[in-house]
Structures are given as C-alpha cells and as structure tokens.
Symmetry: C3
Subunit: 161 residues, 3 copies
C-alpha cells in the first residue's frame, strides 16, 4: 500500500430506502477513516437527491408518468421488498429510530459535512428532465459514466448498490 | 499503476432491463477508454443472451416452468421495479428513446464491436438446458465461476449488477 | 502481484435465495483457489444466518412485525423475483437439485469448512434484537461496517450482493 489516500466509489443505482442505508453507512464510515469517497447517483438512485417538493414534470407524458410513480427525495424512498404500500417503509424507519440508527437523509448530511463527493448522473437528469435547481444543494457537478469509471479505476473499493 | 491494460469485470446477474443499461453503458465506456472489459452473464442475467425466438424447453417440467416465466432476449427483459405487467418496461424504453439513450441490445452490439468479452455462465446454461446454438452469436466460450473470479482478481473494477 | 494471499470480500445484503447462490459459489470457488474470503451478512442478508427454529421476537411490536415477515434460516430465503408465494422458491430448489447444484446451505457449510470468514453485522443484530445464540454456530464475531470496510480496502475483489 502506498502513502496515497485510498478511494471508495459507490454507484448508487437503486434509490431503495433499505439500500440507502448501506450506501450512507459505508460512505460515512469510509470518510471517517480518511478515505476519499464518491457516490455516483444514477437511474432510480437519483430520485433521493431531488427536492421533496419538486413535482418531476418531465419533458413529455412518458417521463411524467415514470417520474410520477417514483416520489422524489429521501422521504419518497421505498423498501426493495415488503414495502406493502408504504407500511414496510414506515416500519423500517421506526425500527431504525428505536435502534438509534440515523435515517439516510441525516447520514447523507453527515457524509456531505465530511466531504463525501455526491455526484448526480447527468444522463439520468437529462432523461427525466430534472434541472440542477430541483436537486438538493451542495452536490457535485453532474457527471457521466466516464467520470465515474475513472474514479472507480483508481478506487480500492467500488460497489454497485 | 503499471503500464498494463486495466480490466473491468461485471457479473451480470439480474437480467433486468433497467440494470442492463448500467452494465452496457459502463462496459462500452470502459472499452472506449482502453480498458479490457468482461461481462459474465449468470442466473437471470443469462436470459438476455438467449435468442428471442427460442422457447426454452428445459430438461423437465420444472425447468420449463421456471424458464417459461422469464422471456428470453433483450426484449424479454423487465424492469426491476414498477414493471406493471410490461407497461413500465415499454415506458422506460420510450423515455430512453426520446432521450437518445440507445436500447441495451444496441449498446450490447457496440460493446461486442469494441471487443468486450461476453461470457455466458456454463452452469446456468446447464441448469436451464440451453444449448450454445440457442444463444446470440459471437459470445465467448461458456465459463464457470472460477474463470470469472480469476478475471475479477486482476481487475481494477469488479461489479455485481 | 505480490506473494501475499489475495482477499475477496462480499457484502451479503439481500438474503434472497437466488443471490445466496452466487455469494456461496463465488466464496467457495475463491477459497478453493487459495483466496482469503470474507462474507459480511447485513440487513436482509442476516436472516439466513438465524437458526430456523428461532422466532425473532424483537425488541418491540415494530421489530416483531418486520422480522415476522421475513422467515429466518436458509429455508426461509425467497427468490428476488417470481417468488409467487413460495412456488418459485421451491421450483428453483428443484431445478438446482436436478442440475446437481448444491443448495446454498450446503455450500455455506463447505465454505465454513474451507475457512471462509462469516461475519454477522452487529448493527443488524441489534436492530432486530437477535442474540448470538440464536444464530448458526461457528460464525465470526459480529462486526460493524468499519471492520468490513477495512477488509474490503485490502481486497482484490469486493462485491455488494
């Protein structure tokens, strides 16, 4: 191992509530141990970064419909299984709270405070017709797959979540 | 870093339409930047490689039933969520088309043209009773987990999608 | 490459039957080729490690409900798709048996015999109120994300499954 700072890159693809936890827990933990951490939010994974009061309008009827079924923001995130119309999601959030596990949106803030790079996927923004001002503040400049790949190729740990 | 060519290996496990995009986008992008890219298609991930006119006959009633529920070919690929009996899939394909994002089957062809190694999983073929002539042309020789692992252990980037 | 033993680390997040196979096949194959393999069982991934006769009692009504919907043990594991109330799961197990693919619980035993490190996630155990004696025998000491990350950062292959 060299003296250089180690890198971890996570491709946050799913946007599911239960997968936001490992993404944010691993990111904050890695940042706390001095690693340079980057999360590339793409496809469904972009939705948590969209402001919760934004109604994704899209460019056309199709985009509108697809976007309309997937609520924006961390509060809109569903469980990948047993979501049961939102009941599983609420239960999971309560279980986490009782167990003193921070919700993913608070872990996200902590990650940002620790300098984790939060990169929105430009292509997903274009596809869904999302403008930068509709996203949470203090994100990185939107990038493409090539930039994410470049970071992964020099990362000791790369995960697709 | 050495002067050697870098490697990326993706285990394409899911076969979901929405996960075929990152698999093919990352593969084509990596190949375009000079990386040696390998995609190992296993379990559900094998289905997109099966010719669309193939009726997977299987070895017995069980295989037939399991295979019958999962349509072969890229056209058979469903969304991992919000598939809604195929409506989500069609919408996603339309959104992609309007946004000038190529469908995964076209990205697959481009990947092949750029020399991305497309490795079908031998074990999955055996399990489902799929013969090599029922698969798309120009794939690599079917291999097992050991070969995929060997490639991953010398890859700068390994992802399970 | 150095003379040192190579490492592979898998974050077993999903707990799905169909994802237990690649986790266990890759782990046993890597161990057989001399790699040092670690599997970190977290979130849904922890359930297969819980003894099948254990009724997860949880700390409160919420935990009880969440845990009650997800049966413990390898036998409780469902398919990530097409589970169809358990029919898909039974079919998949039959297809595997006919194809001479060992069930994941047997592959797990083999992995343990070959020295694969099986690490339960401490945080998940705390969240669900699972005591060490309710888990399968011969597991590693429960650890947190920091320990898993440390192992990943020196691994040639790290996967999130």
């Amino acid at each position: 191992m060299s003296e250089e700072q180690e890198n971890m890159t996570i491709i946050a693809f799913s946007g599911d509530l239960d997968k936001l936890w490992p993404t944010m827990i691993l990111s904050s933990t890695a940042a706390a141990t001095g690693m340079n951490v980057t999360v590339f939010f793409t496809f469904w994974g972009l939705f948590p970064l969209v402001k919760e009061d934004v109604r994704i309008t899209g460019k056309d009827a199709m985009t509108k419909m697809l976007a309309g079924m997937n609520a924006p923001g961390f509060q809109g995130a569903k469980l990948s299984k047993m979501n049961m119309g939102g009941m599983g999601r609420r239960m999971m959030r309560k279980v986490a709270k009782k167990g003193n596990l921070m919700p993913p949106e608070e872990l996200f803030d902590i990650c940002q405070d620790m300098g984790v790079n939060m990169w929105p996927c430009q292509m997903t923004m274009d596809l869904l017709g999302i403008a930068p001002e509709q996203m949470r503040p203090n994100l990185g400049v939107p990038v493409g797959a090539a930039t994410a790949l470049q970071m992964m190729s020099k990362s000791q740990v790369s995960l697709f979540i």
